[in-house]
C-alpha cells in the first residue's frame, strides 16, 4: 500500500512507525514532528530520517517554531498545506497520524 504517516510528535510515536510496513512510505513531519527534521539531538542524525521513505516537512510548522527551510536536510522536502492536500489525494492512499 501507499502509506503517508503524519509524524506530529518528537519524542513519541517512533515505535508505531517501526511496526508499520508499506510498499510506498511517506513521512510528513507536522506539529512537533518538525523537530525530527530541524534538530540534531546530541549531534546525531535523527533515526527516523534513516528509514526508507519519502520525507516532507510542513513549512508553516517549521516557521512557527523558529526554523526555516534552509535548516532542513536535503532529503526532506519542505511543503505547504496546499502541497499536503496534493500528497494526500495524488501520492498516497492511506493516511495515519502518530
Amino acid at each position: 500500500m501507499k502509506l503517508a504517516v503524519f509524524k506530529s510528535d518528537f519524542r513519541t510515536g517512533g515505535d508505531m512507525l517501526d511496526r508499520l510496513s508499506a510498499e510506498k512510505l511517506g513521512i510528513i513531519f507536522v506539529g512537533n514532528g518538525i523537530y525530527h527534521a530541524a534538530v540534531k539531538d546530541a549531534g546525531a542524525a535523527d533515526p527516523v530520517l534513516q528509514k526508507s521513505a519519502n520525507f516532507y516537512v510542513l513549512a508553516e510548522d517549521l516557521e512557527v517554531r523558529g526554523f526555516n527551510a534552509s535548516q532542513v536536510p536535503g532529503n526532506v522536502k519542505v511543503v505547504t498545506y496546499d502541497d499536503v492536500v496534493d500528497l494526500i489525494f495524488n501520492e498516497y492512499e492511506k493516511l495515519v497520524w502518530v
Binding site: 500500500m1 502509506l3 515505535d15 508505531m16 511496526r19 508499520l20 510496513s21 492511506k94 493516511l95 495515519v96
Partner: protein, 135 residues
C-alpha cells in the same frame, strides 16, 4: 460493498481517551447501515499494538473511578463479533500471556475469539483495509 476500516490502538488506557474512542467508534459499525445504501457496510479491524496491548488486560477494576473499563470494551467488541488482534511481539515484550488477556466473550455468550498474531500478520490485515486510523 463492504469496506474494512482499521482501528490501530497504540495508546495505554485511561490517561487519555484514545483507546476508549477506538473501541467505541469501532463498535459503532453495528449501526452504521442506517447511513448507507443497501449492500454497503463497514467491517472494522481492531489491532492492539505496542503499549496498546495493555488495553486488553484482564482484572481491570474501575470501582474507584466509576467508569467503564477497557477490559469491558474489549469484551464488548468480541461479543459484537469485532475481529481483535494483539501484536505477538508486544505481548511477549511486556511479559503478558494469553491467560492475562481478554481472548473471548464466552461468559456473555459471544463466539468471536481474539488472536495473538505477529506484527507481519497485522500488517497484512491492514493492507486489506480501505482506511487506517491510529489511536
Amino acid at each position: 460493498m463492504i469496506k474494512k476500516i482499521a482501528f490501530i490502538i497504540r495508546s495505554l488506557p485511561y490517561k487519555t481517551e484514545a483507546s476508549r474512542l477506538a473501541m467505541t467508534h469501532a463498535i459503532a459499525s453495528q449501526t452504521v447501515e442506517i447511513y448507507l445504501e443497501d449492500g454497503q457496510n463497514v467491517e472494522p479491524i481492531v489491532a492492539l499494538v505496542g503499549d496498546g496491548v495493555m488495553n486488553g488486560l484482564k482484572s481491570q477494576s474501575a470501582k474507584c473511578y466509576g467508569v467503564s473499563t477497557l477490559e469491558q470494551h474489549t469484551k464488548n467488541g468480541l461479543l459484537l463479533d469485532l475481529p481483535i488482534m494483539y501484536c505477538k511481539e508486544d505481548v511477549e515484550r511486556l511479559g503478558l500471556t494469553e491467560d492475562s488477556l481478554i481472548m473471548d466473550a464466552d461468559d456473555l455468550g459471544g463466539d468471536m475469539k481474539a488472536r495473538i498474531v505477529p506484527m507481519s500478520e497485522i500488517n497484512a490485515a491492514l493492507a486489506t483495509a480501505t482506511h487506517l486510523q491510529i489511536f
